[in-house]
């Protein structure tokens, strides 16, 4: 039940998926809100601190997720050929966007050589300034990527709903619980 099968996801993958979804949406909302905070807001220092801390922890979680994904079977994608291709492409784009977000965010705060404190728990050292005005360029990229990943997440959710409502396959429900992928649909489970 923890591991993936050819037809469905185990609890590890499911937990990672929803944890990431919630965290990314949360990071987006906090990021969007915190950059316009008033100097006298009590969140002026804490919101960016949480944003960076949670973002970097998600980076670690995503590294683990990728390792898990590589050594686990991938459930077969459902739908037409073009849909599977698009889905695959979208999922790769998610990982690229995520790591680019982690990297660009990191490059904003570490441009002056300062390290990033993660919840006053440990700190991630700076790798220095790579390019001139790094904090601005990385910031611009970070903002664009943040909007892109939310856009992609929207398409991703619409696609999942389309599978559920129109195709009536178990694409959506199998990401909710491993048990829902037990009934073999059109896969090799029987072999």
């Amino acid at each position: 039940m923890l591991k993936n099968s050819n037809s469905g996801y185990g609890w590890v993958s499911i937990t990672l998926h929803w944890l990431t979804a919630l965290t990314v949406i949360g990071l987006f909302a906090v990021g969007y809100w915190m950059v316009d905070l008033n100097y006298y807001s009590e969140w002026y220092q804490t919101a960016p601190h949480y944003h960076k801390s949670v973002g970097l922890l998600l980076a670690a979680v995503t590294l683990f997720r990728l390792a898990w994904k590589i050594q686990q079977p991938s459930p077969q994608l459902l739908g037409a050929r073009w849909e599977k291709h698009l889905a695959k492409l979208g999922h790769i784009a998610f990982y690229i966007l995520l790591f680019s977000l982690f990297m660009s965010g990191y490059l904003i705060s570490t441009a002056d050589g300062r390290s990033i404190e993660v919840f006053n728990w440990f700190s991630v050292p700076s790798m220095g300034e790579w390019i001139a005005n790094q904090e601005d360029i990385a910031g611009e990229i970070h903002e664009w990527l943040a909007y892109s990943i939310i856009g992609l997440a929207l398409l991703h959710a619409l696609a999942a709903l389309k599978h559920h409502v129109i195709n009536k396959d178990n694409t959506l429900v199998r990401m909710l619980s491993p048990s829902t992928s037990q009934q073999p649909t059109l896969n090799e489970e029987k072999e």
Binding site: N38, Y39, Y40, P48, I108, S109, T110, A111, D112, R114, N133, Q134, E135, D136, G139
Partner: protein
């Protein structure tokens, strides 16, 4: 014949004089970094926050008759450096300098009023954040003379206080931080 000769020499002499006057023009030594444009602003009313602009350019003339002197400086606003990348990013953003829209700040003197002892009031137009205002820089000449490398140098120092709101910069940093002190340390090499 003689009179024409005299007038010719006179004319020549005069043009030499003007050349000499032009030769008293100095280029600000930004290459050797013997010049610095610094600012300081109160933080919450508890301390001074100090920073500077790393990139600027300019020239000046310092005449024996001080009132014939002139100064012009162009500052690359994105070169603001308060020794903290996240803060610099904020300062370059649209809450403050909006450097994408206003990449340059300029100062051009309009009038120099000598006050004796090398002191002078440097009147001029400052363009900052797209707003042009007349300001007076309280300045004094520090010295001039040959340098050890075959050149000729002169330098002065000036300071002025700017009200941020005058230039349309209205982000609320608190009642103690409505003004910024500017300090201009300039050394020029004769052209």
């Amino acid at each position: 014949m003689k009179t024409t000769l005299t007038s010719l020499t006179l004319a020549l002499g005069l043009s030499f004089a003007t050349i000499n006057a032009q030769a008293a023009d100095y280029a600000i030594d930004t290459k050797g970094a013997h010049a610095s444009i610094n600012f300081k602003i109160q933080h919450l009313g508890y301390s001074w926050l100090v920073g500077r602009f790393n990139q600027f350019d300019g020239e000046f003339s310092l005449e024996d008759d001080m009132s014939k002197s002139a100064v012009s400086v162009t500052i690359d606003t994105s070169s603001i450096d308060s020794n903290h990348a996240e803060r610099d990013k904020h300062l370059r953003g649209d809450d403050f300098l909006n450097v994408d829209k206003f990449p340059e700040a300029t100062f051009k003197s309009t009038k120099v009023v000598p006050k004796g002892d090398g002191k002078f009031d440097l009147h001029g137009e400052l363009t900052l954040h797209g707003v042009t205002k007349s300001i007076v820089i309280d300045a004094y000449k520090i010295g001039e003379g040959k340098d050890p490398w075959g050149g000729y140098r002169a330098g002065f120092m000036g300071s002025t206080k700017l009200k941020l709101a005058d230039y349309g910069i209205t982000y609320n940093l608190g009642p103690a931080s409505t003004h910024v002190d500017m300090e201009l340390h300039v050394e020029g090499v004769r052209k």
